[in-house]
Amino acid sequence: MAELTTFSFQPGTSLLHKLDVRFKLLFLILISLISLGGGFTGLGILTGLVTALIIHSRLPLKSGFKEFRFFLIFLLLVLGARMLTTPGTALIEIKSIAITRPGLMSGVLICWRLVIIALLGFLFVFTTPSSEIKAAVEWFLKPAAFIPGKRIATMMGLIARFIPVILNQARETADAQRARCVQNRKNPLYRLIRLGLPLIRRTFEQADRLIVAMEARCYSENRTDPALCATRIDWVALLIIIIICGWIVSI
């Protein structure tokens, strides 16, 4: 049996699974925008909300953390860059390098915002099938006649379908290389090249096979999309999100 990446849709019965995808997309955009302007208190409230949603939807945070390890390295780089480049009162000073208090504060804030947005994205993908994401994007782009909505939606749906496939390939390739003691090679560039090239090749091969299988089943842009239907629960959720966002803005 295959071990799956957690960065993919998993069927379930949580509130997030039941919500209309258009509302979920709207919540994702709203909360992301609010988090960009939020201070420590606002981000604290949003963290509480995201934590509750993670627990409720049973997001496998432990394995998700493993998938996010490269993102965490990126966050550390952002934090380091902020701490070292923002002028202000020095907290620690070693020769000419100083870690400043405003730098630390702004670095933590930025990383916190990025973590919230990433977790929201994770929750969205975890609770929404890619066919619904495609249908929602198409719905949002419908009024803009000059934008090829169907094509963009199809591309987004395929990207959402492919992210777990690529992550799976990366894990399998890395495992195969670990089995042949790649960890004894300390040069990170060597290891990156050794992982990257076969991964790209395998991803393209897999994409090729998937395209053939989809073609064999008459795939086209014009297909029956999932029926999108807003219920009372979606409107109630929207009201709650607006209240929370308004509260954070007013702080």
């Binding site: 069927p11 099938p129 096979r209 998937l210 064999a216 089943r217 999309d225």
Partner: protein, 249 residues
């Protein structure tokens, strides 16, 4: 009535390699045909012409009397194809979603899709797995899911490319049973394999390919004797001079 008619089919790949060399073949509706041959003999290339996944360099392929090139969608609806790697055939995020993929592409309405998916899942015994993630199914179940995905498009012909590859014994039996049930339900069956042992007992026609050509074509019992000269292992039973028996007995 011949459901598949292939006339003078030639296929060259982009690098100039000759994949198929002047193939002439007719398959009657309801037949159970096994196509065997060593790797690179052109088996997969041949069946990919049946639903237009590959187009002829020369010659013509007709499905139910109509040229595949003239109406690709019709050919793809009439000829379902199960690929060697069942994983790469899975496009849905749930078992239900995967089976619904084909009918959605045919632009059926939601009620029709629900009905077809329910029938297809019932036919392969995966009704209780509808909300399960497909990648977590066993090898045999994945193959059955692929069959359900094909059945939901209501094809006349079903082509299986190495359906038993990397399956354990129960998995082989599950898939074989499914293929026989489909044949009994009236589908024309094409099985591509280089492992005749598992399926030959059920076939009414055996085609052997080598280097892009059909080198033997006939009733299995009559031609199985010399197939090893073409790089295909004959079933053990035929070596012992006894009748090839089904794996289901």
């Amino acid at each position: 009535m011949d459901i598949i008619e292939i006339e003078n089919l030639k296929h060259c790949f982009v690098d100039g390699t000759l994949g198929l060399d002047r193939i002439n073949l007719k398959i009657r509706a309801g037949a159970f045909v096994v196509v065997a041959g060593p790797n690179g003999s052109g088996k997969t290339t041949l069946i990919r012409h049946l639903n237009g996944l590959l187009l002829p360099t020369d010659g013509c392929v007709k499905v139910a009397g109509v040229s595949v090139q003239k109406d690709l969608m019709r050919a793809r609806r009439l000829v379902g194809m199960m690929f060697q790697d069942a994983d790469s055939q899975i496009v849905g995020e749930t078992v239900y979603g995967d089976v619904a993929f084909g009918p959605e592409n045919l632009r059926l309405d939601h009620d029709q899709i629900r009905e077809r998916v329910a029938l297809a899942l019932d036919a392969v015994g995966l009704k209780d797995f509808a909300e399960q993630r497909p990648h977590l199914l066993s090898g045999g179940e994945k193959r059955r899911l692929a069959i359900a995905g094909i059945l939901a498009m209501e094809p006349k012909v079903i082509a299986f490319d190495e359906p038993f590859a990397s399956l354990d014994y129960p998995g082989v039996k599950q898939v074989l049973k499914q293929i026989i049930t489909l044949h009994q339900a009236g589908h024309t069956i094409l099985v591509i394999t280089h492992d005749l042992e598992k399926v030959l007992a059920h076939a009414d026609r055996l085609i052997i390919m080598q280097k892009g050509k059909i080198v033997r074509d006939g009733v299995p019992a009559e031609i199985v004797g010399d197939i090893e000269t073409f790089g295909v292992r004959a079933p053990c039973a035929s070596h012992l001079g006894i009748e090839v028996r089904s794996w289901l007995n």
